[in-house]
């Protein structure tokens, strides 16, 4: 079915190496508009994970029956149907949050990540692998959006998990900075999202560069023999 190595590659690709938000830079529209707090980012990511897993498994199962020439309209129809399901689910069960996320839930259908994974992965791979790919790509989006939303929220209003009461009515947002914190409004506005996203991309590249430098330093013996010839 699926080997351990395959699974690890898919997970690593989704969460880090091909991270949708900080490597592929896809789906910037919801990223900028929704991540004014961590809860919004997490909930939109969860909706996207659901859509991606379902659409990947649907497309992967049907991949041998979809004519190559009209595959994109067919993919979009499948994704749109699934997004409608998720949209209605949110509307019915998390109505307050649904009002906050608004247009961005139906807009998941136009999110390039979903179509990109369907086209690049699910159309060429078996259903099980495709499901994992959808889930882990979504997890990659989840942690970046949660981190970005958390940072914007903390800088902008000094709280964390604002609006969590819309998901779990018993929980309250955490006030991390004192009440007198004036609030760095820029962080909550779209430019703040761009600046912080830029910082996150720089951080990711820095981590990768450091890892590459370390990997190069580790096997000095083989490098030395290669150079001796």
């Amino acid at each position: 079915m699926i080997t351990r190595d395959e699974f690890r590659t898919i997970a690593h690709n989704g969460v880090w190496k091909q991270n949708t938000s900080i490597v592929q830079i896809l789906g910037l529209c919801p990223l900028l508009a929704v991540t004014t707090n961590a809860v919004n980012g997490i909930m939109l990511s969860l909706a996207t994970i659901l859509v991606m897993a379902l659409s990947n498994v649907a497309v992967a199962s049907l991949r041998n029956f979809i004519p190559h020439e009209i595959r994109i309209p067919v993919f979009i129809l499948i994704v749109a149907a699934l997004v409608t399901v998720v949209d209605l689910l949110f509307n019915a069960n998390l109505h307050e949050l649904y009002l906050v996320l608004g247009i961005f839930i139906p807009l998941i259908v136009t999110n390039c990540i979903v179509l990109a994974r369907v086209e690049a992965f699910a159309a060429k791979n078996p259903p099980l692998q495709s499901t994992f790919d959808g889930v882990f790509m979504g997890v990659g989006m989840l942690w970046t959006l949660a981190l970005l939303g958390g940072m914007r929220e903390l800088l902008g209003s000094g709280t964390l998990f604002g609006g969590i009461d819309m998901v779990f009515p018993s929980l309250q947002p955490i006030q991390l900075l004192p009440e007198s914190y004036p609030g760095f409004l820029l962080a909550l506005l779209p430019p703040g999202a761009f600046i912080l996203l830029g910082c996150m991309i720089a951080w990711k590249n820095w981590m990768d560069a450091r890892a590459a430098a370390r990997a190069q330093r580790k096997p000095p013996a083989s490098v030395a023999t290669a150079g001796a010839h």
Partner: protein, 338 residues
């Protein structure tokens, strides 16, 4: 981008240029400290300290030599422009935050001295006015009538920020009059009656602007700036304000008022003339200055913010590379459309 020949240049270092820019700011600072309040000197010190600390930190992170870049004075010029464009009683952390943002984000993240596409001081102003509109709008209308110790306490947050210390600026008062429309007050009457208006612009502030004009003319005489940007800036501002003033003198203030209000003078001579973020060709400089002057007027009269110079300069910074590309002078000996 290069300016056309002849390349007969004096061998001036960055630190010499920056020192002279600081000297040119002195008349304005003296008028500011004398007529508005000595709090500005405290703000200058806070901004300078924050700028040097941020510069040192970024140089360390980027592995650049400390002494050479710290002593070039560019950070201090940015800091002074920030302190002079922020409200005089802004809390210390607001000035420090703006300065740190200018040095770290607007200057060093783009590659440091000479690489920044936007004027760092104006980025600081835009960031702070967008993020803290209330604090950035607290301008004392007339001079600060309180002892220096009290001014210090307000800046350091030890004393409460009383509403009394901020009145409507002359520009705000005019904007309100404009919004009221025909039924509202007459601008000429407003200027004559209200305490906040002086001889030809805001009381006290008009002489600060005159100080900047003096320093700017000195910079031009020293050949540190060319005449293009200030003349185009002032010309555009005079043209549009004059046209509207002649059309409806009851609603719009005179060109003289606009020239000596808000950041017009410091913008025309010290901010729009920034050689890094502005245009380099002579024709480009004219377009750049005129665009900034026009936008500054539109934003300050019809927009929602107290003054428009910062946003005008930033918008023209965006256009500067394109303007430079389109105004390249023909190569010597070539036809005009080479």
């Amino acid at each position: 981008m290069f300016a056309p020949a002849p390349y007969l240049l004096k061998d001036v270092s960055v630190s010499q240029v920056m020192t002279q820019v600081c000297i040119a700011l002195v008349p304005g600072i003296v008028a500011y400290a004398w007529l508005i309040g000595p709090a500005i000197l405290v703000q200058l010190a806070i901004a300078s300290a924050a700028a040097l600390l941020a510069e040192s930190l970024m140089l360390k992170l980027r592995g650049k030599p400390q002494a050479m870049f710290l002593s070039d004075g560019s950070a201090v010029v940015t800091a002074w422009l920030i302190a002079l464009t922020f409200p005089p009683l802004a809390p210390w952390w607001l000035v420090a935050l703006g300065t740190v943002f200018a040095i770290v984000v607007a200057k060093h993240l783009y590659g440091g001295l000479g690489q920044n596409p936007f004027n760092p001081a104006m980025v600081a102003f835009a960031v702070c006015i967008v993020s803290f509109p209330a604090l950035m709008s607290q301008w004392p209308s007339v001079g600060l009538q309180m002892p220096l110790v009290e001014q210090l306490n307000v800046i350091l947050g030890l004393a409460p920020r009383v509403d009394a210390l901020s009145g409507a600026t002359p520009l705000d008062a005019l904007k309100t009059a404009l919004k009221l429309g025909d039924s509202g007050v007459d601008v000429a009457q407003l200027l004559a009656n209200q305490d906040i208006f002086g001889n030809f612009a805001g009381r006290g502030w008009e002489w600060v602007a005159a100080g900047y004009l003096l320093g700017g003319l000195w910079l031009w005489q020293r050949k540190l700036i060319t005449w293009h940007v200030p003349v185009a800036f002032i010309g555009a501002l005079v043209l549009i304000s004059g046209a509207l003033w002649l059309y409806k003198p009851a609603q719009f203030a005179s060109p003289l008022f606009h020239l000596f209000s808000g950041g017009a003078m410091i913008g025309a001579f010290f901010i729009a003339t920034d050689p890094v973020s502005g245009c380099t060709t002579p024709r480009g400089k004219l377009i750049f200055g005129a665009g900034a002057g026009l936008l500054a007027y539109i934003i300050r009269v019809f927009g929602g913010y107290p003054d428009g110079v910062a946003f005008a300069v930033l918008l023209m910074n965006l256009c500067a590379p394109l303007i430079d590309l389109l105004t390249q002078p023909p190569i010597f000996g070539m036809k005009d459309k080479a």
